[in-house]
């Protein structure tokens, strides 16, 4: 739990509080190690907190997060710092000094999450948790399962009157408008980088014209549209005009497997799109769906998941890369592709096109400044001396199962380093 206790000897720093970082932190703590877990966002859970369901079980990620959060709450060896990032690292394996910086939340630990501040707040901000598809109040709870269960104030989105209203609404003296950034240093024996991934910027693929139409969304936006706590309460509607789409197209490898963008395969997108077809089928049992793909990567036990969809007469599978997307006047879009098997040119007009955008390592830009060694794609490599180790999608594109495995392995490496 968050507190200001000083660093015990042999502690481990875990950077990133998504599923990989949470796993690494808990696995190490449950062996008996002290752990600092820091997270850039105001909440733990990372990308999986934004997902509606996991493949192939179609179970809610919040179920596993609930268990993990209870594990954190029952383990005093885990110290959590949200809105916190690494500024610099010095020292070496067994003995690192890491300077951290916490941004001001403007809401202190008195917050009971009663919500009176948000009720009183007149100002709104774009809700980044929902990729800007809706607004939240300027003082907000990041999501239903936010951990810590505390509000956050986006001061930049708040008027002077708004700030006053927020301050006055709180009965618990939890609003601290003078909160300043805080820098502090921890001594740790090992660092686990679990900084995760960002969706590849869809505007970089100029041929897919992401900005030209509301009918072109990314797969992560689709997760939010299908989620019960998303911008539409879980109803899959076209952003902008809230139309119930009658037809859908999935554009696989949007950025991945492409030398001009991400040369690697992003590992999850085939299964993610098939999962999202299940979301569509729940709400639109006979909607027409076209999937443009290079290969369908559903190896091993995932084949069963794919086979169920292959019998759906209203799904068309086209082996071929989408060359162009054209916005139509009625709000729909036309996808242009060539079928690689038949050579046939295809033009498919749909109400909603989903770009299966790939994973880009989130620490890519920051890595050089922190002295991390990364591969040519920005994935973090383990330090040969053993004190620094990467986990999850900071290490390579991977699904949740693989992330949890690599995070458990990273906890082991960190524990070994702390014996020095």
């Amino acid at each position: 739990m968050t507190d200001e206790r000083s660093a015990p000897a042999g502690a481990v720093l875990v950077v990133g509080g998504g599923i990989s970082g949470l796993t690494a932190a808990l696995e190490a703590a449950e062996v008996g190690k002290d752990v600092f877990l820091i997270e850039r966002n105001p909440y733990l859970g990372g990308r999986v907190a934004q997902l509606n369901q996991y493949f192939p079980k179609l179970c809610p990620p919040s179920c596993g997060l609930e268990i993990n959060f209870q594990r954190v709450k029952s383990n005093r060896r885990v110290r959590v710092y949200t809105m916190t990032e690494v500024k610099s690292v010095s020292g070496g394996p067994g003995n690192y000094q890491v300077t951290l910086e916490s941004k001001p939340r403007f809401i202190n630990n008195n917050c009971t999450a009663c919500g009176a501040c948000a009720d009183a707040c007149p100002d709104e901000r774009d809700n980044d948790f929902n990729f800007g598809m809706d607004k939240s109040k300027a003082v907000y709870k990041p999501h239903d399962m936010a951990f810590p269960m505390k509000y956050v104030l986006d001061k930049s989105a708040c008027s002077a009157a708004g700030l006053q209203a927020v301050k006055e609404a709180c009965k618990y003296d939890a609003v601290d408008l003078d909160m300043a950034p805080k820098e502090f240093t921890v001594d740790v024996s090992a660092i686990v980088w679990a900084t995760g991934w960002n969706p590849y910027d869809p505007t970089k693929m100029t041929n897919l014209k992401y900005d030209s139409s509301n009918a072109i969304i990314t797969n992560m936006m689709m997760e939010r549209l299908a989620a019960p706590n998303g911008p539409t309460g879980g109803k899959i509607l076209r952003p902008g005009d809230n139309k119930e789409p009658a037809s859908f197209a999935f554009v696989q490898c949007a950025g991945s497997r492409d030398e001009n963008h991400l040369e690697y395969c992003s590992y999850i997108c085939c299964m993610a799109s098939m999962k999202q077809i299940n979301y569509i089928r729940e709400q639109y049992p006979t909607a027409k769906i076209t999937v443009f793909y290079i290969d369908l990567r559903t190896p091993g036990k995932y084949e069963k998941f794919r086979e169920k969809l292959m019998t759906d007469a209203n799904i068309t599978w086209v082996k071929g890369k989408v060359a162009d997307i054209v916005a139509e006047a009625d709000g729909s879009v036309t996808l242009v592709a060539e079928n690689a098997v038949t050579g046939e040119k295809i033009k498919e007009t749909v109400d909603l096109a989903i770009l299966a955008t790939g994973m880009e390592p989130a620490a890519k830009a920051q890595a050089a400044a922190l002295g991390l060694s990364v591969d040519s794609n920005g994935f973090i490599l383990a330090d040969v001396n053993g004190g620094m180790v990467s986990a999850g999608c900071a290490k390579k594109a991977a699904d949740v199962v693989t992330c949890a495995q690599s995070a458990t392995a990273a906890a082991m490496k960190a524990i070994q380093a702390s014996r020095r």
Binding site: E30, V31, G32, N52, Y54, K57, L58, C59, S62, C63, G64, L65, E66, I67, N68, S74, N75, N110, T112, C114, G115, D144, M145, M149, K171, Y172, P228, N229, G233, G234, E263, Y264, C265, S266, L296, R297, T298, P299, G300, K301, E303, E307, K319, V341, D375, S376, N377, A397, V400, T402, A404, Q405, T408, A409, A411, M412, K413, I415, Q416, R419
Partner: protein, 752 residues
């Protein structure tokens, strides 16, 4: 411990507005507790109020009537020696109060919400009286050595990693040397950027390192006869590989089968073997086990059109690797990835993405060994996920490697070689290839698919359970928790749990070694491992009243309970995951935890006030799973969605822990219905104790009959499945049930 109670009611966060606080205090008083109120109990001042009572009055048992037990856990933690119970007034009564409408006045809404709050206060007081702080179970002696079964890449990695963390390890390997399948590889996949080039095998270096490590004991040509005991205290009988031993693990014999064997109606499958509870004095002690017994190549002779076993020159990828390792491979080779012909486009069974990679590797052997060699890789879907895409790209740049999507319809003899007929290729036409050899991408069958392998001497039998869900792999069912299995202290890794490449195997084995260490250290601290990590309670049995019905030993999802010859359970607390399924199963109600037991929850249920003359105030008890249904209710309340005013919710560890006595308690106290809200069950079950909600559903069917015989409608009890993210619909599920009860009318035994 002599209990000194303190009860505290928070009036903040709208509790004071929605509920009549005086009435709540009266409810506490009815349980003999003078409640103090505070307008923000979680604040520094609020906690000081409690801390002062602890310091000045010796309060050690604290009833916090405030928000949900899921929040403010740290704020209301007053040390391990203080017992704290929580009445969920905020999410449970205030925030989920009904809407005020024309037909529902504000006074009525408050009256109903207050009655709910009063019941929660009474229940928390009773819970405090009937529960206690944990007193962790400690083994008398703990052994921290790790047994690694299997000396391939996975086993060697697990052993090295555990030894680097300071733990002694014994590797047992059935072959006469370490190394496993990797010894037969000519080259291995790239393990680092740029991910394009094959690497020289590193297995011998690993073998050398393992042999040089003082903390690792090696036993080759050895197998496990049986593993008895529990985490921290396993007793393992080893034997020479390939031999039979009278210490081999006995097969599972169910209650009915044992009955038949005793009557001489059935042959004892374990005749000649030592009983599973026998104590082998020469067994070795271990603390945890890593299962890394790997895989065997799949049989591919069933695909007649591919000609394996009939046509000379059709081989498996494993056979081709052997050929490549020991000599020169032919110049023209086709690699077939998908056996479905025109029927389907799946890969061979047991493949995962490894076999795509193997074909790309072996295609390079064709080029290395033959100046004009040609390799044809024929796939339906090229599976090279993640960085392996670059390996695929590298192969595409090799002039002699031809790759195409293709449906392989037939392989037949043609002259001295083979003809491979293809349809639906990327050349937009049907093609016939003439080659010297055809390599089939046979899958990797786990050693657990047809043998127990782990050889446990457990009451529930020697194998992992329900592996058919994973095609026989010793895999986990849980996406977030890939190391969870139904046998605490045993962690699988490598090819036995999934077809995986070397890089994946090394990560997996490293993680499995950590889990093994963690289970040992948790046992040493006397706490549970996942998912109730750090829980210091464990089930205690009052054996004098045990009738040897064996329900607990049969139903425990983790096989924690063995038994003696009479059938009296023998608990193994370090195998236990604290779900309480045994407690739910026991008809004699003799199993319980310090802070969660039959008397406690039954008394909580009985403390609910049941008006016996008001048809508008029926009472429905709801047992909600603490991990999914209860959080869903909480989140619904945080969204200020109204919940039915007639329900009273009890958070339970798992629906499997719900003893039917509680349902009877509720109905005999005059409550009108009982609803159990648990996780989804079926093949994609979400229960983290595997079978809890499914077991509850079965038990409900039985209790329905009992109710019927008492003249009560079986529909008064039900199980409903709720996922944690169904907070928008959970109330509708409850309302549907409650409305059916309202239609049935009040419990006819009300008031008796």
């Amino acid at each position: 411990m002599e209990k000194k109670y303190g009860a505290y009611i928070c009036t903040g966060c709208g509790i004071g507005d929605a509920l009549d606080i005086e009435a709540l205090a009266k409810a506490a008083k009815s349980q003999g507790m003078e409640a103090k109120t505070h307008d923000a109990l979680c604040s520094a001042a609020g906690r000081e109020l409690i801390e002062n009572d602890i310091t000045n009055d010796g309060v050690n048992t604290i009833v916090v009537c405030a928000c949900s037990p899921r929040v403010m856990k740290d704020e209301f933690n007053f040390g391990d020696d203080k017992y704290v119970t929580r009445a969920n007034l905020r999410e449970g009564a205030a925030w989920c109060a009904e809407e005020v409408t024309e037909s529902r006045s504000a006074e009525k809404v408050k009256e109903f919400a207050t009655e709910k709050g009063q019941d929660y206060v009474r229940m928390a007081c009773v819970q405090a009286k009937k529960g206690d702080v944990p007193d962790p179970y400690k083994l008398e002696t703990i052994n921290k050595k790790i047994l690694v079964m299997g000396g391939g890449i996975a086993g060697m990695t697990a052993a090295m990693e555990a030894s680097k963390a300071g733990y002694a390890v014994t590797i047992i390997e059935a072959q006469d040397k370490l190394g496993g399948k990797a010894l037969g590889w000519r080259k291995q996949f790239p393990t680092a950027a740029p991910w394009t080039d094959l690497e020289e095998p590193t297995v011998q270096a690993m073998v050398d390192a393992v042999q040089a490590e003082a903390a690792i004991t090696l036993k080759t040509s050895t197998e496990v006869a049986r593993i008895a005991g529990a985490p921290g205290a396993y007793k393992v009988t080893l034997k020479a590989a390939g031999t039979a031993s009278d210490w081999d693990a006995p097969k599972k014999v169910g209650v009915d089968e044992q009955d038949k064997i005793s009557k001489g109606e059935m042959e004892d499958p374990n005749a000649g073997l030592q009983p599973y509870m026998a104590d082998d004095a020469s067994a070795e002690d271990f603390g945890a086990v890593v299962l890394a017994t790997g895989w065997n190549p799949a049989d591919v002779s069933e695909y007649a059109h591919l000609g394996y076993g009939k046509l000379k020159g059709v081989v498996t990828n494993a056979e081709f690797e052997k050929l490549a390792k020991t000599g020169k491979v032919p110049a023209n080779v086709a690699f077939v990835q998908s056996p479905g012909g025109a029927e389907h486009d799946q890969d061979f069974p047991y493949c995962n993405s490894v076999t795509s990679m193997v074909a790309l590797k072996q295609a390079q052997y064709v080029r290395e060994d033959n100046a004009a060699g040609k390799a044809y890789v024929l796939y339906q879907h090229m599976r090279t996920p993640g960085n392996m895409e670059m390996f695929y790209k590298g192969a595409q740049n090799n002039d002699g490697i031809f790759m195409t999507k293709a449906t392989v319809t037939q392989v037949e003899e043609s002259g001295n070689g083979l003809a491979v007929h293809l349809k639906d290729t990327l050349l937009n036409e049907d093609v016939t290839l003439n080659v010297d050899m055809v390599v089939l991408a046979a899958g990797m069958v786990p050693t657990t698919s047809d043998k127990p392998t782990i050889n446990l001497a457990y009451r529930q039998g020697p194998s992992f359970l329900d592996l058919e869900l994973f095609d026989g792999y010793a895999d986990s069912h849980f996406i977030c928790f890939p190391y969870e299995t139904r046998r605490t202290g045993v962690y699988a890794c490598g090819g036995v749990r999934k077809a995986m490449n070397m890089e994946e195997t090394i990560d997996d084995a490293c993680g499995a070694a950590l889990k093994a260490i963690q289970s040992i250290e948790s046992a040493d601290r006397g706490v549970a491992v996942h998912p109730r990590s750090n829980d210091g309670t464990y089930p205690e049995f009052f054996f004098q009243r045990c009738t040897q019905c064996k329900r607990c030993t049969e139903e425990c999802p983790f096989g924690a309970l063995d038994d003696d010859e009479k059938g009296t359970p023998k608990p193994n607390p370090t195998r236990c995951r604290r779900c309480g399924t045994c407690m739910g199963a026991c008809p004699e109600r003799i199993i319980g935890f310090k802070n969660y037991n039959i008397d406690q929850v039954g008394s909580m249920v009985k403390s609910i006030e049941v008006p016996d003359d008001d048809e508008d105030k029926l009472r429905i008890i709801v047992f909600a799973c603490e991990n999914d249904a209860y959080p869903a209710l909480d989140m619904a309340a945080m969204r200020k969605l109204p919940q039915n005013a007639l329900i009273r919710v009890v958070s339970v560890r798992c629906l499997g822990s719900v003893n039917m006595a509680w349902i009877k308690d509720a109905l005999s106290a005059g409550m009108d219905g009982a609803l159990m809200l648990g996780c989804k069950f079926g093949d994609d079950y979400q229960c983290h104790f595997v079978k809890g909600s499914e077991l509850a559903d079965k038990r409900m069917a039985n209790i329905g009959e009992t109710l019927g015989s008492l003249g009560l409608e079986p529909e008064r009890c039900a199980v409903r499945q709720v996922a944690i993210n169904e907070y928008n619909t959970v109330d509708a599920i409850i309302n549907e049930f409650v409305e059916a009860i309202v239609d049935l009318g009040p419990n006819p035994f009300k008031g008796f």
